[in-house]
Amino acid sequence: MSFAANPRQFVVRFIFISVAAVILLRLLFLQVFEDKYKVMSNDITIYRKVVYPPRGVIYDRKGKPMLYNDVVYDLAVTPNNIPKNLDTAQLCAVLGIDKATYEKLLYRVIMKNGYMRQSPLMEQLSEAQTARFKENAYMFPGFEPVERNIRTYPNASAGIVLGYIGEVSPAMLKKDRYASYNQGDYVGMNGLESSYEEVLRGQRGVHFLERDNFNRPRDPYQGGALDTPEVAGRSLQLYVDADLQAYAEKLMANKIGSVVAIDPKTGGILAMVSSPSYDPNLLRGSERARNFARLYRDATHPLFNRAMQASYQPGSTIKPMTGLVALDAGAISPSYGYPCYGSYNACNRAIACEHHDAGHAANFRLALAHSCNSYFCNIFRMTADLKKFGGVKKGVQKWHDYFYSFGYGHPTGVDLPYEGRGLLPDSNFYNDRYRGVWNSCTVVFVGMGQGELALTPLQMANGMCIIANKGYYYTPHFVRAIDSNANDPVLKPYKQRHQVTNIADTTFNVIARAMQDVVESGTARGALLEGVDICAKTGTVENKAIVNGQVMKMKNHSMFVAFAPRENPKIAIAVAVENAGFGATWAAPIASLLIEKYLRDTIAASRKPMEDHLLEAHLIDRNVYLIDSAQRLRDRMRQEMKEQRKKYSDSLQRATDSTLVQAWIQRNVVPQKNRTK
């Protein structure tokens, strides 16, 4: 049949084909040319599930765990699966909550995640709750205990070292380091948890799941081909001796201060205490929110790591260093003596010395053993004024360089975040302060560790390592090995030996000998430990504080630095006890006991009374609370003033703006109007 004979059948065919063509054309655009539907499809159907591997465990030097993961249970609920006839009273009884609380919790869950998704109703059930629920679980369909790991500190010590984890904050997310994190992820907030975050966290696994229209995850997307498997966090092996750490915390209880003990041979930190210490378990999981504020507001600031963030004037504990510089620079010889009769008067004022008897500073050894202020003020001046340096300004700069190389005045680089730097003045500092007019008398106090010099206890202990090692140190650090591999690239910076300017071994021998005398015949006889050559130096640091609006001289800080034994030293230690009294009274015996504990593992019976005396001592100054409340008041006032100032400057800005706008209108709009008129 031809077209002419019956065109209509072809018209019908034409309609069929053209409609099909239109549909195909539309499909071509929809499926091939437009990409937005693919994106939308992935958005709605692919659920990216992040699987968090267990965080790494932290072990002490003997392999004892200090921080590991414990299993706790959350009670999860799928609201849609709760049967209508659920015995709510029974469930409440099992969970130990009242019905109103239950309904509030359930309402919150439904509001947040809807009826179809499983979400946590109660977090971190207690053991009793878990046990009771598991026994009766068959009665409560729709509810399910869900396992979760929680960081646990079995020794309840070293909180300041180990740190804690918490949900990553919006401020942190802006930093490069945390760029890969999502809101709600847990991250190390402080301590080793923070500095070794990348090691401990392992690698997060990402699983792509398909989800349905109720947002419930279903099958793996593309059979899991795009998934990244999770890799468990690596463990850390520390230098820290958990027993020593606990013992140090015990000794420091009821005192404000810190202890840092370092193995000089490696730079490994054996113990770091900032007292008052806190139970780190308070800051885990859901307890953190409750306890953090309380700890943060505490007047004694337990969250503040005094061992590396607080800086103190070192007092007499700096004298070995002053001597070291003087001897090395050639300002004095070990036999140099100074006639001190109770005060240093060369600078037109009297700087008091504890000793009056003639000859207590007849040579370097005696002067250090008796901690003669006059002697060390004098040799500091002699160093600064040395002819070969060419003037006091260059001399002080030279002294600064020595001290800088000892690790003072800058963070040592310990593997904890937020390390303090202390204070180490140089010539420019004094030029600024005294407008260029100053001499060695002006700055004489730094020779005896007062004045503008300030060190963190960590820097003090590190200084001891230098003397113990006769001229070098390793950056103090906690981590000995990662997953038992001591040569992990992460630890590379701590393998580098820092050579302190080429000071002769003989000079170090003189200093060490003199420091041994400090214990054996000098100021720190209380620290004497039978059979161990302890080299040490006490320090008693004058300090002032503003109490009730008045500058008040507070009780002296008690300081002590030491290393032992003299030959082949195994431990270097710095102890600071704030507002406690003489260095020899408190800090020295604490250090001595810690040395004994570390070297011998037990405390000799003969030293038990000393130990008891220390344990019983309560040395927190009443004024601490006053200062704290005053500080709080000041902070609040400063905050309010800042806000007021901002408000004021805002209104000023607005006023300026409106004036400018009016002027602009005057210039540009009004004349035109006039012109049209």
């Binding site: 049949m1 209509r8 059948q9 018209v11 019908v12 065919r13 309609i15 069929f16 084909i17 409609v19 099909a20 239109v22 549909i23 195909l24 539309r26 499909l27 071509l28 929809l30 499926q31 091939v32 437009e34 937005k36 539907y37 693919k38 939308m40 499809s41 992935n42 709605i44 159907t45 692919i46 398909e210 989800r211 349905d212 229209n213 279903r218 099958d219 793996p220 997307y221 593309q222 059979g223």
Partner: protein
């Protein structure tokens, strides 16, 4: 002739059968792919693809019966069956069960079917019988009106069952009547009517009135010679103008306010991307109004477009349809089954499927044209037209070219009455074709 001597089965048209089976198999696999989740056994009783397989068996059984039946039977039973169909439709209005807002299902025991689907067969037979009868002169207005009435009577009953989508299918018989001699003007008027309808929805009533006026004036200016000469042309113009105005100013507002269901109004407006005007909103309280802002059919079409669009050129692969497998597209195993094809097999698969449909429809037209008897030819056109209407509207609605009216994709959509009625339509045609040398009255 040689055909006479061949056995019945060898006289069946292989191409049509092949295309038919291809579509049915694709349909079952697609329903399977939508329902199946990894880890489940392949044979699971109670799943819809298993039920569909059962329906395929039933359809085969009916197909076999049809093949065994004398081809004369169909023409002789045409009017009776049509009456029976109307009867079924009429009682459905009274004793039908409600399924998803429509009242078009008959429940017999635990078993449910839509008389509207089956009635397509009866109506096709009746129209074929009427148009092919020697007494009928399709050039006369009377017989044209009777033909239209045969097609539209079931549609009317179905509208009363609140299943407008299915009712619209009955308009496809005009395509058949066009083939049998309905004037060309009908097509032109039909398309104009659609254009007018869309304009009514899109353009403000008074503006449209002005546009129609301008068009009328233009028509007068252009054809003024003809108008001067012929009275009928003048009448035609005036009547045409009046009808247009009446339609846009009275019929559409009236039907939107009083005839169409709320969901249909929503769908029509969602297709043209407009909010339903306040005048046509139905018994919705103020609070409900705000909630319903993004209306349901909007969601369907959006999800459906996402599913199809995300398939890309090659598709995501069998059983990898993330949207369809996870139930994002509502009605995805019935009305929106094409989404599963589009998502899993991409443009290539969609093109193939459309190709198969087109091949089947053109084959049916070819079969129709080679019939000796008018009854068979007209019946062939009926089958092809019904298929075409379902195919075009269904796929268009999944890709946003047509409003979402609930009609199935032939052979693919899950649903017993749909599969059965389409199978029967096809088998009857195959049976008629096998006797194409015989004149059937």
């Amino acid at each position: 002739m040689s055909l006479e001597r061949k056995s019945l089965f060898s006289r069946l048209d292989g191409v049509t059968l092949m295309l038919y089976f291809a579509l049915v198999v694709i349909g079952i696999l697609t329903v399977f792919s939508v329902e199946h989740h990894s880890g489940e056994p392949i044979i699971m009783f109670g799943k819809e693809y298993m039920k569909q397989l059962l329906w395929l068996g039933i359809s085969m059984f009916f197909g076999l019966i049809i093949i065994m039946t004398e081809s004369k039977f169909f023409s002789s039973v045409a009017n009776l069956s049509y009456t029976f169909g109307l009867f079924l439709l009429a009682i459905t209005i009274f004793i039908g069960t409600d399924v998803k807002g429509s009242h078009s299902w008959l429940g017999v025991g635990g078993f449910r079917f839509q008389p509207g689907e089956v009635c397509k067969i009866f109506t096709s037979l009746a129209i074929s019988r009427f148009l092919s009868s020697p007494e009928t002169n399709f050039k006369t207005l009377k017989h044209r009106l009777i033909g239209a009435a045969i097609a539209l009577l079931p549609a009317l009953l179905i509208i009363l069952q609140k299943e407008t989508g299915l009712a619209l299918v009955y308009f496809c018989f005009f395509l058949v009547m066009y083939r049998e001699g309905l004037p060309n003007a009908i097509l032109v008027i039909g398309f104009s009517a659609i254009a007018l309808f869309l304009a009514t929805l899109l353009i403000n009533r008074w503006v449209l009135f002005a546009i129609l006026g301008v068009l009328a004036v233009l028509a007068v200016l252009l054809t003024r010679r003809t108008l001067r000469r012929s009275m009928s042309a003048r009448i035609a113009l005036i009547v045409g103008f009046a009808v247009c105005v009446l339609f846009s100013q009275v019929v559409v507002p009236f039907s939107f306010k009083h005839v169409l269901q709320k969901h249909q109004i929503d769908r029509i407006y969602s297709m043209i991307g407009q909010d339903v005007p306040d005048a046509y909103r139905k018994n919705a309280t103020a609070g409900e109004e705000k909630e319903k802002k993004g209306n349901v059919s909007d969601y369907n079409v959006k999800q459906s477009k996402i599913a199809i669009g995300s398939g890309g050129f090659w598709g995501k692969g069998f059983l990898n349809g993330t949207s369809t497998k996870n139930e994002f597209v509502p009605e995805q195993h019935t009305d929106f089954i094409f989404c599963a094809i589009g998502e899993q097999f991409g443009f290539l698969g969609s093109m193939t499927l459309i190709g198969i449909y087109l091949a089947l429809m053109l084959r049916l037209l070819y079969l129709a044209e080679r019939q000796r008897s008018a009854f068979s030819r007209i019946y062939g056109y009926c089958v092809a037209s019904i298929l075409f209407f379902h195919f075009a509207i269904n796929i268009s609605m999944t890709i946003g070219l047509a409003p979402v009216i609930g009609i199935t994709l032939p052979f693919l959509s899950y649903g017993g009455s749909s599969l059965l009625s389409f199978s029967m339509l096809i088998f009857i045609m195959i049976r008629l074709d096998s006797d194409r040398q015989v004149l059937i009255r």
